[in-house]
Protein backbone atom coordinates (compact mmCIF):
# COMPACT_ATOMS: atom_id res chain seq x y z
CA UNK A 1 0.00 0.00 0.00
CA UNK A 2 1.28 3.46 -0.83
CA UNK A 3 2.10 5.86 1.99
CA UNK A 4 0.03 8.98 2.80
CA UNK A 5 3.13 11.04 1.87
CA UNK A 6 3.18 9.50 -1.61
CA UNK A 7 -0.52 10.21 -2.05
CA UNK A 8 -0.05 13.79 -0.87
CA UNK A 9 2.71 14.20 -3.47
CA UNK A 10 0.42 12.58 -6.07
CA UNK A 11 -2.38 15.05 -5.30
CA UNK A 12 0.16 17.92 -5.48
CA UNK A 13 1.04 16.73 -9.00
CA UNK A 14 4.55 15.37 -8.49
CA UNK A 15 5.94 13.21 -11.25
CA UNK A 16 7.64 10.62 -9.03
CA UNK A 17 4.44 10.06 -7.06
CA UNK A 18 2.48 9.61 -10.27
CA UNK A 19 4.96 6.94 -11.42
CA UNK A 20 4.61 5.16 -8.05
CA UNK A 21 0.82 5.14 -8.25
CA UNK A 22 0.94 4.02 -11.89
CA UNK A 23 3.27 1.12 -11.07
CA UNK A 24 1.42 0.10 -7.92
CA UNK A 25 -2.06 0.10 -9.43
CA UNK A 26 -1.40 -0.42 -13.15
CA UNK A 27 -2.83 -3.94 -13.01
CA UNK A 28 -6.21 -2.64 -11.82
CA UNK A 29 -6.54 -0.45 -14.89
CA UNK A 30 -5.30 -3.28 -17.14
CA UNK A 31 -8.01 -5.56 -15.73
CA UNK A 32 -10.79 -2.96 -16.06
CA UNK A 33 -9.82 -1.99 -19.60
CA UNK A 34 -9.59 -5.67 -20.62
CA UNK A 35 -13.32 -6.05 -19.90
CA UNK A 36 -14.18 -3.38 -22.44
CA UNK A 37 -11.66 -3.84 -25.27
CA UNK A 38 -10.27 -7.02 -26.80
CA UNK A 39 -7.44 -5.64 -28.97
CA UNK A 40 -4.03 -4.63 -27.60
CA UNK A 41 -4.00 -1.28 -29.39
CA UNK A 42 -7.47 -0.28 -28.20
CA UNK A 43 -6.53 -1.34 -24.68
CA UNK A 44 -3.34 0.75 -24.75
CA UNK A 45 -5.22 3.79 -26.00
CA UNK A 46 -7.91 3.31 -23.36
CA UNK A 47 -5.32 2.84 -20.59
CA UNK A 48 -3.67 6.09 -21.57
CA UNK A 49 -7.05 7.85 -21.51
CA UNK A 50 -7.92 6.33 -18.15
CA UNK A 51 -4.61 7.34 -16.55
CA UNK A 52 -4.87 10.86 -17.93
CA UNK A 53 -8.36 11.02 -16.45
CA UNK A 54 -7.10 9.73 -13.10
CA UNK A 55 -4.35 12.34 -13.17
CA UNK A 56 -6.76 15.17 -13.98
CA UNK A 57 -9.10 14.03 -11.19
CA UNK A 58 -6.41 13.32 -8.60
CA UNK A 59 -8.00 16.01 -6.42
CA UNK A 60 -10.58 13.36 -5.52
CA UNK A 61 -7.95 11.26 -3.74
CA UNK A 62 -7.86 11.53 0.05
CA UNK A 63 -4.23 10.96 1.13
CA UNK A 64 -5.41 9.96 4.60
CA UNK A 65 -7.34 6.98 3.18
CA UNK A 66 -4.59 5.07 1.38
CA UNK A 67 -6.51 1.80 1.53
CA UNK A 68 -9.27 3.21 -0.64
CA UNK A 69 -7.06 4.27 -3.55
CA UNK A 70 -7.34 0.94 -5.41
CA UNK A 71 -11.13 1.05 -5.24
CA UNK A 72 -11.19 4.66 -6.34
CA UNK A 73 -8.94 3.90 -9.32
CA UNK A 74 -11.09 0.92 -10.32
CA UNK A 75 -14.28 3.03 -10.16
CA UNK A 76 -12.79 5.95 -12.07
CA UNK A 77 -11.31 3.56 -14.68
CA UNK A 78 -14.64 1.84 -15.20
CA UNK A 79 -16.53 5.13 -15.54
CA UNK A 80 -13.96 6.44 -18.01
CA UNK A 81 -14.12 3.24 -20.10
CA UNK A 82 -17.89 3.54 -20.30
CA UNK A 83 -17.61 7.21 -21.31
CA UNK A 84 -15.05 6.38 -23.99
CA UNK A 85 -17.17 3.60 -25.43
CA UNK A 86 -20.28 5.78 -25.36
CA UNK A 87 -18.40 8.55 -27.15
CA UNK A 88 -17.25 6.10 -29.84
CA UNK A 89 -20.70 4.67 -30.32
CA UNK A 90 -22.32 8.08 -30.51
CA UNK A 91 -19.74 9.06 -33.16
CA UNK A 92 -21.14 6.24 -35.22
CA UNK A 93 -24.63 7.70 -34.75
CA UNK A 94 -25.82 5.09 -32.25
CA UNK A 95 -28.16 6.01 -29.44
CA UNK A 96 -27.12 5.69 -25.81
CA UNK A 97 -26.39 2.14 -24.72
CA UNK A 98 -26.96 0.28 -21.49
CA UNK A 99 -23.80 0.18 -19.36
CA UNK A 100 -24.01 -3.57 -18.89
CA UNK A 101 -23.90 -4.09 -22.66
CA UNK A 102 -20.67 -2.12 -23.00
CA UNK A 103 -18.34 -4.59 -21.28
CA UNK A 104 -18.14 -6.93 -24.25
CA UNK A 105 -14.53 -8.14 -24.31
CA UNK A 106 -14.37 -11.91 -23.77
CA UNK A 107 -13.00 -13.18 -20.48
CA UNK A 108 -9.72 -15.09 -20.81
CA UNK A 109 -10.33 -18.79 -21.36
CA UNK A 110 -8.17 -20.87 -18.95
CA UNK A 111 -7.94 -23.76 -21.43
CA UNK A 112 -6.74 -21.49 -24.23
CA UNK A 113 -4.32 -19.81 -21.84
CA UNK A 114 -2.93 -23.19 -20.83
CA UNK A 115 -2.49 -24.22 -24.47
CA UNK A 116 -0.54 -21.01 -25.17
CA UNK A 117 1.63 -21.56 -22.09
CA UNK A 118 2.43 -25.12 -23.24
CA UNK A 119 3.31 -23.86 -26.75
CA UNK A 120 5.57 -21.13 -25.31
CA UNK A 121 7.29 -23.68 -23.05
CA UNK A 122 7.86 -25.93 -26.07
CA UNK A 123 9.28 -22.98 -27.99
CA UNK A 124 11.67 -21.96 -25.21
CA UNK A 125 12.79 -25.59 -24.88
CA UNK A 126 14.14 -25.38 -28.43
CA UNK A 127 16.41 -22.46 -27.48
CA UNK A 128 20.08 -23.13 -26.83
CA UNK A 129 21.58 -22.44 -23.38
CA UNK A 130 23.18 -19.25 -24.67
CA UNK A 131 19.84 -17.80 -25.74
CA UNK A 132 17.63 -18.79 -22.80
CA UNK A 133 18.94 -16.23 -20.29
CA UNK A 134 18.47 -13.52 -22.90
CA UNK A 135 14.91 -14.72 -23.62
CA UNK A 136 14.11 -14.64 -19.92
CA UNK A 137 15.54 -11.17 -19.28
CA UNK A 138 14.17 -9.63 -22.45
CA UNK A 139 10.76 -11.20 -23.09
CA UNK A 140 9.71 -12.46 -19.65
CA UNK A 141 11.17 -9.80 -17.36
CA UNK A 142 10.98 -7.01 -19.93
CA UNK A 143 14.35 -5.53 -19.01
CA UNK A 144 15.86 -2.80 -21.15
CA UNK A 145 18.79 -3.43 -23.49
CA UNK A 146 21.04 -1.55 -21.07
CA UNK A 147 20.05 -3.78 -18.14
CA UNK A 148 20.40 -6.95 -20.23
CA UNK A 149 23.74 -5.72 -21.54
CA UNK A 150 25.05 -5.35 -17.98
CA UNK A 151 23.64 -8.71 -16.88
CA UNK A 152 24.95 -10.72 -19.83
CA UNK A 153 27.97 -8.62 -20.77
CA UNK A 154 26.81 -7.94 -24.31
CA UNK A 155 26.30 -4.73 -26.28
CA UNK A 156 23.01 -2.97 -27.04
CA UNK A 157 23.25 -3.79 -30.72
CA UNK A 158 23.73 -7.46 -29.92
CA UNK A 159 20.64 -7.33 -27.67
CA UNK A 160 18.61 -5.78 -30.46
CA UNK A 161 19.73 -8.45 -32.89
CA UNK A 162 18.97 -11.29 -30.47
CA UNK A 163 15.50 -9.96 -29.73
CA UNK A 164 14.73 -9.66 -33.42
CA UNK A 165 15.94 -13.20 -34.11
CA UNK A 166 13.87 -14.64 -31.26
CA UNK A 167 10.74 -12.75 -32.32
CA UNK A 168 11.13 -14.03 -35.89
CA UNK A 169 11.65 -17.59 -34.63
CA UNK A 170 8.54 -17.32 -32.47
CA UNK A 171 6.50 -16.07 -35.41
CA UNK A 172 7.66 -19.08 -37.42
CA UNK A 173 6.75 -21.58 -34.68
CA UNK A 174 3.60 -23.27 -36.08
CA UNK A 175 2.46 -24.75 -32.74
CA UNK A 176 2.76 -21.44 -30.92
CA UNK A 177 1.04 -19.47 -33.67
CA UNK A 178 -1.76 -22.07 -33.85
CA UNK A 179 -2.29 -21.85 -30.07
CA UNK A 180 -2.48 -18.06 -30.28
CA UNK A 181 -4.86 -18.22 -33.24
CA UNK A 182 -7.27 -20.33 -31.20
CA UNK A 183 -7.59 -17.63 -28.50
CA UNK A 184 -10.22 -14.89 -28.67
CA UNK A 185 -7.51 -12.34 -29.51
CA UNK A 186 -6.03 -14.61 -32.16
CA UNK A 187 -9.37 -15.09 -33.90
CA UNK A 188 -9.51 -11.33 -34.46
CA UNK A 189 -6.02 -11.20 -36.00
CA UNK A 190 -5.56 -10.92 -39.81
Amino acid sequence: MLSPETLQAFVRGEREAFVEVFRAHGTIVVAVVARFWAGAFDREEAMQEVWLHIWKNRGGVDPARCGELAGWIATVARRRCIDLLRARKSERGLVDIDETELATAPLPDPVERQQVAVAVAAFTATLSKAWRPFFDLCFVQGQSYEEIGVALGIGKLRCKYMKKVLATQARRDPALMAALARTAGGRRAP
Binding site: V19, L52, R113, A189
Partner: protein, 310 residues
Protein backbone atom coordinates in the same frame (compact mmCIF):
# COMPACT_ATOMS: atom_id res chain seq x y z
CA UNK B 1 -0.20 1.13 -47.76
CA UNK B 2 0.09 -1.04 -44.65
CA UNK B 3 3.42 -0.63 -42.80
CA UNK B 4 3.70 -4.26 -41.61
CA UNK B 5 7.48 -4.18 -41.20
CA UNK B 6 7.20 -0.96 -39.25
CA UNK B 7 4.66 -2.57 -36.90
CA UNK B 8 6.92 -5.57 -36.28
CA UNK B 9 9.84 -3.23 -35.66
CA UNK B 10 7.76 -1.11 -33.31
CA UNK B 11 6.71 -4.07 -31.17
CA UNK B 12 10.09 -5.79 -31.13
CA UNK B 13 12.60 -2.94 -31.12
CA UNK B 14 10.59 0.22 -30.57
CA UNK B 15 10.62 3.32 -32.75
CA UNK B 16 11.90 6.88 -32.34
CA UNK B 17 9.20 9.15 -30.78
CA UNK B 18 8.16 10.89 -34.01
CA UNK B 19 7.91 7.61 -35.96
CA UNK B 20 6.03 6.04 -33.05
CA UNK B 21 3.51 8.89 -33.00
CA UNK B 22 3.06 8.65 -36.76
CA UNK B 23 2.52 4.89 -36.65
CA UNK B 24 0.04 5.13 -33.78
CA UNK B 25 -1.90 7.73 -35.76
CA UNK B 26 -2.06 5.28 -38.64
CA UNK B 27 -3.14 2.46 -36.34
CA UNK B 28 -6.07 4.53 -35.10
CA UNK B 29 -7.42 4.78 -38.64
CA UNK B 30 -6.44 1.41 -40.13
CA UNK B 31 -8.27 -1.65 -38.79
CA UNK B 32 -6.08 -4.06 -40.75
CA UNK B 33 -2.81 -2.67 -39.31
CA UNK B 34 -4.40 -2.50 -35.86
CA UNK B 35 -5.18 -6.22 -36.08
CA UNK B 36 -1.58 -6.89 -37.15
CA UNK B 37 -0.32 -4.85 -34.20
CA UNK B 38 -2.68 -6.68 -31.83
CA UNK B 39 -1.35 -10.04 -33.07
CA UNK B 40 2.26 -8.91 -32.56
CA UNK B 41 1.49 -7.70 -29.05
CA UNK B 42 -0.39 -10.90 -28.29
CA UNK B 43 2.70 -12.89 -29.27
CA UNK B 44 4.95 -10.65 -27.14
CA UNK B 45 2.59 -11.03 -24.17
CA UNK B 46 2.45 -14.82 -24.63
CA UNK B 47 6.26 -15.04 -24.70
CA UNK B 48 6.26 -13.05 -21.45
CA UNK B 49 3.98 -15.68 -19.97
CA UNK B 50 0.90 -13.49 -19.65
CA UNK B 51 -1.75 -13.48 -22.36
CA UNK B 52 -4.11 -11.20 -20.41
CA UNK B 53 -2.03 -8.08 -19.84
CA UNK B 54 0.37 -6.09 -21.99
CA UNK B 55 3.88 -7.45 -22.54
CA UNK B 56 6.49 -5.83 -20.23
CA UNK B 57 7.91 -3.80 -23.12
CA UNK B 58 4.43 -2.55 -24.05
CA UNK B 59 3.75 -1.62 -20.42
CA UNK B 60 7.01 0.31 -20.30
CA UNK B 61 6.21 2.06 -23.57
CA UNK B 62 2.77 2.98 -22.20
CA UNK B 63 4.37 4.44 -19.08
CA UNK B 64 6.75 6.50 -21.23
CA UNK B 65 3.92 7.76 -23.46
CA UNK B 66 1.79 8.57 -20.44
CA UNK B 67 4.57 10.47 -18.71
CA UNK B 68 5.12 12.38 -21.96
CA UNK B 69 1.42 13.28 -22.05
CA UNK B 70 1.14 14.20 -18.35
CA UNK B 71 4.47 16.02 -18.07
CA UNK B 72 5.03 17.28 -21.62
CA UNK B 73 8.49 18.81 -21.15
CA UNK B 74 9.57 18.14 -24.73
CA UNK B 75 6.39 19.58 -26.21
CA UNK B 76 6.82 22.75 -24.20
CA UNK B 77 10.30 23.14 -25.60
CA UNK B 78 8.98 22.85 -29.14
CA UNK B 79 6.44 25.66 -28.82
CA UNK B 80 7.14 27.44 -25.57
CA UNK B 81 4.74 30.32 -26.05
CA UNK B 82 1.82 28.03 -26.77
CA UNK B 83 2.67 25.71 -23.90
CA UNK B 84 2.76 28.69 -21.60
CA UNK B 85 -0.71 29.66 -22.69
CA UNK B 86 -1.97 26.13 -22.42
CA UNK B 87 -0.85 26.14 -18.83
CA UNK B 88 -1.74 29.65 -17.82
CA UNK B 89 -4.65 30.77 -19.94
CA UNK B 90 -6.52 27.54 -20.58
CA UNK B 91 -6.14 25.56 -17.42
CA UNK B 92 -8.13 27.80 -15.09
CA UNK B 93 -11.71 28.24 -16.20
CA UNK B 94 -13.71 31.48 -16.32
CA UNK B 95 -13.19 32.82 -12.79
CA UNK B 96 -9.42 32.75 -13.05
CA UNK B 97 -9.09 33.18 -16.80
CA UNK B 98 -8.79 36.97 -16.68
CA UNK B 99 -6.13 36.99 -14.00
CA UNK B 100 -4.30 34.14 -15.68
CA UNK B 101 -4.42 35.96 -19.02
CA UNK B 102 -2.92 39.11 -17.50
CA UNK B 103 -0.25 37.04 -15.76
CA UNK B 104 0.46 35.13 -18.96
CA UNK B 105 0.79 38.37 -20.88
CA UNK B 106 3.18 39.77 -18.29
CA UNK B 107 5.32 36.66 -18.47
CA UNK B 108 5.18 36.61 -22.23
CA UNK B 109 6.09 40.26 -22.54
CA UNK B 110 9.23 39.47 -20.59
CA UNK B 111 9.86 36.55 -22.92
CA UNK B 112 9.23 38.64 -26.02
CA UNK B 113 11.43 41.52 -24.92
CA UNK B 114 14.20 39.33 -23.61
CA UNK B 115 14.26 36.66 -26.28
CA UNK B 116 16.46 37.18 -29.31
CA UNK B 117 14.39 37.32 -32.49
CA UNK B 118 11.22 38.41 -30.65
CA UNK B 119 8.00 37.46 -32.46
CA UNK B 120 7.09 41.08 -33.45
CA UNK B 121 3.99 41.98 -35.43
CA UNK B 122 1.52 39.21 -36.18
CA UNK B 123 -1.24 41.08 -38.02
CA UNK B 124 -2.74 44.44 -38.99
CA UNK B 125 -6.31 45.45 -38.21
CA UNK B 126 -8.51 45.80 -41.30
CA UNK B 127 -11.75 46.58 -39.47
CA UNK B 128 -12.72 46.46 -35.85
CA UNK B 129 -15.62 47.06 -33.52
CA UNK B 130 -14.92 46.98 -29.82
CA UNK B 131 -11.86 44.73 -30.16
CA UNK B 132 -8.98 45.18 -27.74
CA UNK B 133 -5.48 43.93 -27.28
CA UNK B 134 -4.09 43.33 -23.79
CA UNK B 135 -0.39 44.05 -23.56
CA UNK B 136 1.52 44.18 -20.27
CA UNK B 137 -1.80 44.51 -18.46
CA UNK B 138 -2.79 47.52 -20.58
CA UNK B 139 -5.93 47.31 -22.71
CA UNK B 140 -5.67 49.11 -26.05
CA UNK B 141 -8.53 49.46 -28.52
CA UNK B 142 -7.73 47.99 -31.90
CA UNK B 143 -8.46 50.47 -34.69
CA UNK B 144 -8.08 49.95 -38.45
CA UNK B 145 -4.42 50.08 -39.44
CA UNK B 146 -3.17 49.20 -35.94
CA UNK B 147 -0.51 46.51 -35.62
CA UNK B 148 -1.35 43.44 -33.51
CA UNK B 149 1.74 42.15 -31.71
CA UNK B 150 2.37 38.44 -31.50
CA UNK B 151 1.70 36.84 -28.10
CA UNK B 152 -0.66 39.58 -26.87
CA UNK B 153 -4.21 38.59 -25.93
CA UNK B 154 -6.77 39.84 -28.45
CA UNK B 155 -10.35 39.98 -27.20
CA UNK B 156 -13.58 40.83 -28.94
CA UNK B 157 -16.56 41.59 -26.65
CA UNK B 158 -20.22 40.76 -27.22
CA UNK B 159 -21.50 42.64 -30.29
CA UNK B 160 -17.98 43.38 -31.48
CA UNK B 161 -15.98 42.02 -34.42
CA UNK B 162 -12.48 42.15 -35.78
CA UNK B 163 -10.92 41.49 -39.16
CA UNK B 164 -7.16 41.07 -39.39
CA UNK B 165 -4.67 40.89 -42.21
CA UNK B 166 -2.06 38.34 -41.17
CA UNK B 167 1.64 39.04 -41.67
CA UNK B 168 2.06 35.55 -43.16
CA UNK B 169 -0.57 36.45 -45.78
CA UNK B 170 -4.32 36.02 -45.70
CA UNK B 171 -6.88 37.10 -43.15
CA UNK B 172 -8.58 36.22 -39.92
CA UNK B 173 -12.15 37.15 -38.99
CA UNK B 174 -12.83 37.15 -35.29
CA UNK B 175 -16.44 36.87 -34.11
CA UNK B 176 -17.84 38.46 -30.96
CA UNK B 177 -17.06 36.98 -27.50
CA UNK B 178 -13.72 35.56 -28.62
CA UNK B 179 -10.26 35.61 -27.04
CA UNK B 180 -7.12 34.50 -28.84
CA UNK B 181 -3.39 34.95 -29.16
CA UNK B 182 -1.51 35.14 -32.43
CA UNK B 183 1.89 33.56 -32.89
CA UNK B 184 4.82 34.88 -34.90
CA UNK B 185 3.67 36.50 -38.21
CA UNK B 186 0.19 35.12 -37.54
CA UNK B 187 1.30 31.61 -38.49
CA UNK B 188 -0.35 30.15 -35.39
CA UNK B 189 -3.47 31.06 -33.47
CA UNK B 190 -4.15 29.97 -29.90
CA UNK B 191 -7.93 30.24 -29.64
CA UNK B 192 -9.00 30.28 -25.99
CA UNK B 193 -12.73 30.53 -26.66
CA UNK B 194 -15.12 31.92 -29.26
CA UNK B 195 -15.26 31.68 -33.02
CA UNK B 196 -12.87 32.60 -35.83
CA UNK B 197 -13.03 32.39 -39.61
CA UNK B 198 -9.61 31.61 -41.04
CA UNK B 199 -8.70 32.78 -44.53
CA UNK B 200 -4.96 32.05 -44.77
CA UNK B 201 -3.31 32.79 -48.09
CA UNK B 202 -2.29 29.61 -49.84
CA UNK B 203 1.32 28.73 -50.55
CA UNK B 204 2.62 30.78 -47.60
CA UNK B 205 3.63 27.84 -45.44
CA UNK B 206 2.20 26.79 -42.13
CA UNK B 207 -1.01 28.03 -40.50
CA UNK B 208 -2.34 26.31 -37.42
CA UNK B 209 -5.14 26.95 -34.93
CA UNK B 210 -4.82 25.35 -31.50
CA UNK B 211 -7.69 25.27 -29.02
CA UNK B 212 -7.77 23.68 -25.56
CA UNK B 213 -9.16 20.52 -27.14
CA UNK B 214 -7.89 20.38 -30.73
CA UNK B 215 -5.46 21.52 -33.39
CA UNK B 216 -6.50 22.43 -36.93
CA UNK B 217 -3.74 22.76 -39.51
CA UNK B 218 -4.44 24.32 -42.85
CA UNK B 219 -3.87 22.44 -46.06
CA UNK B 220 -4.87 25.47 -48.23
CA UNK B 221 -8.30 26.74 -47.31
CA UNK B 222 -10.89 28.86 -45.51
CA UNK B 223 -12.34 27.43 -42.32
CA UNK B 224 -14.20 28.23 -39.10
CA UNK B 225 -13.16 27.16 -35.62
CA UNK B 226 -15.49 27.37 -32.62
CA UNK B 227 -13.80 26.68 -29.29
CA UNK B 228 -15.91 25.95 -26.20
CA UNK B 229 -14.96 24.73 -22.75
CA UNK B 230 -15.07 21.04 -23.56
CA UNK B 231 -15.12 20.78 -27.32
CA UNK B 232 -14.05 22.39 -30.57
CA UNK B 233 -15.99 22.50 -33.85
CA UNK B 234 -14.11 22.89 -37.13
CA UNK B 235 -16.18 23.66 -40.22
CA UNK B 236 -14.46 24.04 -43.59
CA UNK B 237 -15.71 26.62 -46.08
CA UNK B 238 -13.32 25.57 -48.86
CA UNK B 239 -10.12 23.56 -49.27
CA UNK B 240 -9.00 21.09 -46.64
CA UNK B 241 -7.95 21.18 -42.98
CA UNK B 242 -6.18 18.58 -40.89
CA UNK B 243 -7.69 18.32 -37.40
CA UNK B 244 -6.20 16.54 -34.40
CA UNK B 245 -7.23 16.28 -30.78
CA UNK B 246 -5.14 17.83 -28.06
CA UNK B 247 -1.84 15.94 -27.69
CA UNK B 248 -2.02 15.04 -31.38
CA UNK B 249 -4.76 12.48 -30.77
CA UNK B 250 -6.40 11.18 -33.98
CA UNK B 251 -6.21 12.80 -37.41
CA UNK B 252 -9.09 13.76 -39.62
CA UNK B 253 -8.87 15.68 -42.90
CA UNK B 254 -11.93 17.86 -43.35
CA UNK B 255 -12.84 19.19 -46.80
CA UNK B 256 -15.18 21.96 -47.98
CA UNK B 257 -18.73 21.85 -46.58
CA UNK B 258 -17.65 19.30 -44.00
CA UNK B 259 -17.10 19.57 -40.28
CA UNK B 260 -15.71 17.70 -37.30
CA UNK B 261 -16.01 17.98 -33.54
CA UNK B 262 -13.29 17.33 -30.98
CA UNK B 263 -14.39 16.70 -27.38
CA UNK B 264 -11.87 17.17 -24.57
CA UNK B 265 -9.45 14.25 -24.46
CA UNK B 266 -10.97 12.64 -27.58
CA UNK B 267 -9.99 12.17 -31.21
CA UNK B 268 -11.86 14.24 -33.81
CA UNK B 269 -15.10 12.70 -35.06
CA UNK B 270 -15.09 11.57 -38.72
CA UNK B 271 -15.73 14.41 -41.20
CA UNK B 272 -19.45 14.95 -41.81
CA UNK B 273 -21.39 17.11 -44.28
CA UNK B 274 -22.22 20.43 -42.69
CA UNK B 275 -23.39 23.87 -43.73
CA UNK B 276 -21.24 26.92 -43.18
CA UNK B 277 -23.91 29.29 -44.47
CA UNK B 278 -25.03 30.11 -40.92
CA UNK B 279 -21.48 31.11 -40.01
CA UNK B 280 -20.85 33.22 -43.11
CA UNK B 281 -24.31 34.84 -42.74
CA UNK B 282 -23.58 35.55 -39.06
CA UNK B 283 -20.42 37.38 -40.06
CA UNK B 284 -22.32 39.37 -42.69
CA UNK B 285 -25.11 40.26 -40.21
CA UNK B 286 -22.50 41.31 -37.68
CA UNK B 287 -20.84 43.59 -40.18
CA UNK B 288 -24.18 44.93 -41.53
CA UNK B 289 -25.38 45.80 -38.01
CA UNK B 290 -22.14 47.64 -37.28
CA UNK B 291 -22.35 49.56 -40.58
CA UNK B 292 -26.03 50.31 -39.87
CA UNK B 293 -25.10 51.55 -36.38
CA UNK B 294 -22.41 53.80 -37.82
CA UNK B 295 -24.81 55.07 -40.49
CA UNK B 296 -27.47 55.91 -37.93
CA UNK B 297 -24.86 57.56 -35.74
CA UNK B 298 -23.64 59.73 -38.63
CA UNK B 299 -27.24 60.57 -39.62
CA UNK B 300 -28.14 61.56 -36.07
CA UNK B 301 -25.02 63.76 -35.86
CA UNK B 302 -25.99 65.24 -39.24
CA UNK B 303 -29.55 65.88 -37.99
CA UNK B 304 -28.15 67.45 -34.84
CA UNK B 305 -25.88 69.70 -36.85
CA UNK B 306 -28.61 70.74 -39.29
CA UNK B 307 -30.99 71.34 -36.34
CA UNK B 308 -28.33 73.47 -34.70
CA UNK B 309 -27.83 75.61 -37.80
CA UNK B 310 -31.57 76.25 -38.02
Amino acid sequence: MHPEREIERYVVEGLPPEAEEQLRRHLRDCASCRARYDAEQQLAAALAGDTDGPAPAAARALEARLLGAVFPATKAARRPWLALFEGLLWAPRPALAGAAAVFAVLVLVVVVVAAPGAPGIAATVVRSQGAEVVSAGQRTALTPGAAVPALDVVSVPRGGMLELSLERGGGLRVFSQTALVLGRRGETVALDHGKIWCLPEEGRGTFEVTTPTATARVLGTSFIVVAGNDSTDVRVVSGAVEVKGADGRGRVVVHGDEGTKVARGQSPTPARRTSVTADTNEWQRLWDSIVQGLKEGIESIGRGLSGGTK
